[in-house]
Symmetry: D2
Subunit: 359 residues, 4 copies
């Protein structure tokens, strides 16, 4: 028994006994293997923390009723994940102080273990909402192939449970004000969009020095933009985009997200806006981390096979774009129009979006 | 006359008069336009600084004789560029505090100006060694099309002058020790590589749980690796890679760079090793900056055309990989073998790679 | 006439003509002087941006009525200032790539100009709320002594206008709910604090291995804490702290800030809580920047006099603590009690702190 | 048996079982306690890594003969420590996402454990060279009082073994070239210093607008500078500084370090120069970390006692300056003179400082 000490509280004896060098076992200790282990262990500690936060956020946002107090808390946890991602990125700088030749001193001893076997990272991807159909296959096998049985169960569970994407989508889809009957927001928005696109077309046609071919290309692109906007106003067109996997959000969720982007200054939408932006940033940081990871692997092992028998950097590089989860929120900017063209909210709507106190 | 004051020295009056808001001229000042201007101006100031450093490095490394004192200085300037790149990356975080809707308040007023018109950035790319043939076309036009006449001259000059890539390559190509007659390094290296690859093949064949298809794929990849190694020992094969634009360095420069990677601990090679790694880091940072830039543009304008009439984010995203300059140094790791297999340098060679004082 | 180009928009011709090397004028150009100029100019550009944001925040928060829409906007601008501070800190890393010996190549040519003459930085300090009486004297002169006449006017005006501290304090002081009559919050809070402190005393008295002297010291400290808490409940005691310059906020503003800390989860308090935390972070970053600046000056010039004739690093180091503005918000944690001891808000109060929609 | 998997290699089962929440044991789990534990465990992992690197550096630099190959390796490890320190700093940003009120949910449960009980951090300080006499006392007890018996033994051993400061000092002290008989470097240096100081005095006397009092102060400071320079040339004066604890390096080590600063471009001195600068940066980062730590504690617990019964932030804030180890290298800039005044090295000396190959 006895008073709680720092070392006991943090279980330092156990924690600091977890670094077992394969190179030492093989009788030729490699100085840099500790760095390799410690960096990966630090990653796993932070993955655990991220899962803890994401679990909480999914629980909060997955409730039948989410009030603003809850949104505030969910946002707070997501902002913490963003800070952690900053450290995850910086840890690559540390690992890159290991030169390729130093890695070779123990690389072969690690076969066939591989970072692709991180069950926590797979759970993290599933928790965020990465879909099975979206995942690139690796070594012609499903992603769980590299995991052992208990890990596979944990990861599978995370895949079946609602993800962050799922609960945010459901929360958006049931936002009441979007379907407010006495305010035909979307019709007015439609009219203003049309006006804006017509002006854009004029801009392109007026550009004096633009080569004819470029002008044609730009006008064609503008018409594509007009087509894209059409998906806002025509659910059938939107659903075609979804079927083609260019959009993932349901139509009502998409409309709510767009509304939040447009009226983010309204008190009741400030929290939701920050929450969507936090998801965008998490997605962005994860992409950056994947890209930096790919560059590091390239630098470290060139074009040879990875420790798990993979041609890893290619796979990693392709996941940068393929494994993104919240792309729809990036694409929302496509549908924005300048504030000056934005339909003014009627006073009674605006009041309802505010605080009771100010009323 | 008069004593030099801080304000006069830094020409603050002129500097702080360079921020002219188009939105103010148009009679509806947009709060965020100053941020847009200041961020881009800070970029241009740092670009000027980077050009200053790169010009100095090219002058140093392009001399007929480059001693170690010079390498130290060149390295120092490159390390400064790396620090500056850190700030260039962070500045994107600042610019991203501008939301898409805020940007829309003045975006149309900027047409047709565009970041693609940064002459200093083009010079920077040319100074590093980006080749005209490598450049992606943008709006179906050459990259200078967006520049005015004096800018085009400056950028064109930078394209014709030797680049950092050129001078580093020439410096590597004439490194004397690589061709040392009394030490047949490359033959011994060849033998050791063969031994290592044979062991790798055994590893793959021994992997119990590996599905047959995966094993075949890995063995094929190994044979490709063997083929790649063959390019080290057979100049004709190496030249075929170059013809296919998979390598850019001349054969002697490539061998010298590989030698530096392998024997980087020798005193005379420590500086050159650091220099090559600095180039790798500069390339990596530039790629990251392009990628972050592409993500920001996506987030900011979705899939609409950029301020210069471009579908910018696509172009940007493709330059991330297409515009890399020092890829060959990343690929060097492909040819490394473990230190334990590395041919020992004969005492007299080793002595020559050291300092006079220690002799 | 003439389409707007990137270069014209950003006034690059003028901007890139503002770097005039004194060492070049003196006939012996120093390579690193450009870095010195560019870094300081980048600082001044960002200072201008920070002033732009702070001016906007002061205007917003200084209005007679500040609604939640306004708080959101003010917060957004403050968060931008925080991002900019991140770059200001990183820029020191860049400047530190200049070695002391390289600085000596042109240091004497800059006399008597000095960073202490940055009028924008003085305005920034004034805008935040640094008080004249708080400022350390430097070279036995007031801080404006180093400025020229127009600068002195601008800085003086910034000193007389309401600062960010002033407007935030006034906004806090008039928060209505703090004085809510039907809810005697502070009495219940007082009772709970007393209970908590009594428990803390027990903890200290129970610590078995604590040396007697240490126990006494801790108990004395606890009593001091009790005394400090007393200032929450007794305006006269609080005013004594203020008179001793240990607190700066008015009593009602102090109570409102504490309330925000305690009930930050309530929807209407989430924005205000974030705003106070942003001020804390700005203060923290400014302190860090001052400290890093002091370290850099120490490293750069040792114990010799600075370019402006100052024994600069000493002055800088003392400003780290002396020139802090929002210390009161740091100190708020002193008065927190665990959530479990926190008085529950009555339903009707809680409802008023929420959104109309949720009602 | 079975192939090495990622999870087995990293002992993830054990590692991820080390997070035991006291709040869960007490029956009211606090969401943020995991963050508190994980952050501290990540710190301890990185401390272990830093100790691993510093042990290696002390072993290398403590050898009877240190060649340039060794200096290169030692430098490489120190640069890794610097990268790790970057993450240690960023981890504070993560921990600061825990608000004071959230910390209160479990803070009392941790009593009396405290970060002051980190045995690894104490070993780290000792390994760098922090002296017992330099340490601030904390709660009126020696720093080991907070450790248990085995920790105390480990920390005590680290205190008795040669530290990084010790071995670097010894290595500097025996640098041969400093005492080279045929080149009376220091006499010529003395003459040039005298000339430079005379010019500085003229500068001050010529400053037109300087108030008389300030001029007198500056002239007095200049004379103090002259006195300081005198310590370079007069061992007795230097020893007086040491006796007053204003310098720590032995006289010969001090001269060698100054020589390295002045002739850092010579090939043989480039590595040593980088090594000294790495020590400066490690010291600076540690100071920054202490300062940020102090700010965080202030923000987190205000002026109440810490988890270990300490008035922690005061102690922490005072260690920022009191616990610095490599201050002497910061102070070296005091003794620099412009390159133009620097005595030229005779050709034969210069040649000896270069590589054999270039000869």
């Amino acid at each position: 028994m006895g008073a709680l000490s720092y070392g006991k509280y943090l279980r330092l004896k156990e924690l600091l006994a977890c670094q077992a060098l394969e190179s030492a076992k093989a009788g030729r200790p490699a100085h840099d293997e500790l760095l390799f282990i410690v960096t990966h262990q630090a990653y796993e500690l932070w993955f655990k923390q991220c899962l803890h936060e994401l679990d909480a956020v999914v629980a909060i946002m997955g409730a039948a009723f989410v009030n603003e107090r809850d949104v505030g808390r969910a946002l707070h946890y997501l902002e913490r994940v963003i800070r952690i991602q900053g450290v995850l990125l910086d840890q690559i700088d540390i690992l890159e102080t290991m030169t390729p030749l130093d890695f070779l001193d123990f690389r072969n001893l690690l076969t066939p273990s591989s970072g692709f076997q991180s069950a926590q990272f797979r759970r993290l991807e599933n928790r965020l909402g990465l879909e099975r159909t979206q995942r690139l296959r690796y070594n012609e096998a499903d992603y769980e192939a590299a995991l052992d049985a208990p890990e596979r169960r944990a990861v599978g569970a995370a895949e079946r449970e609602p993800s962050l994407f799922d609960v945010v989508e459901a929360w958006l889809a049931r936002m009441p004000f979007v379907r407010s009957p006495e305010f035909d927001f979307w019709r007015e928005y439609h009219a203003n969009v049309t006006r804006m696109l017509d002006e854009d077309r004029d801009t392109i046609e007026r550009k004096a020095q633009l080569p004819e071919a470029a002008r044609r290309a730009q006008l064609e692109e503008l018409e594509r933009t007009r087509e894209t906007f059409a998906t806002v106003f025509d659910p059938a067109k939107y659903e075609r985009l979804r079927a083609a996997r260019q959009r993932r959000l349901s139509y009502p969720a998409f409309l709510a997200a767009l509304m939040i982007m447009l009226y983010r200054d309204e008190p009741i939408l400030q929290g939701p806006f920050r929450l969507l932006m936090a998801l965008v940033e998490i997605d962005e940081n994860l992409s950056l981390w994947r890209y930096r990871h790919a560059l590091m692997v390239h630098r470290m092992i060139g074009m040879k096979i990875g420790t798990g028998g993979s041609s890893g950097q290619d796979y990693l590089r392709r996941t940068v774009e393929a494994h993104r989860v919240f792309l729809d929120f990036f694409n929302l900017s496509t549908y924005l129009i300048p504030r000056s063209l934005l339909p003014a909210l009627p006073a009674e709507v605006r009041e309802q979006l505010g605080f009771r106190w100010n009323a």
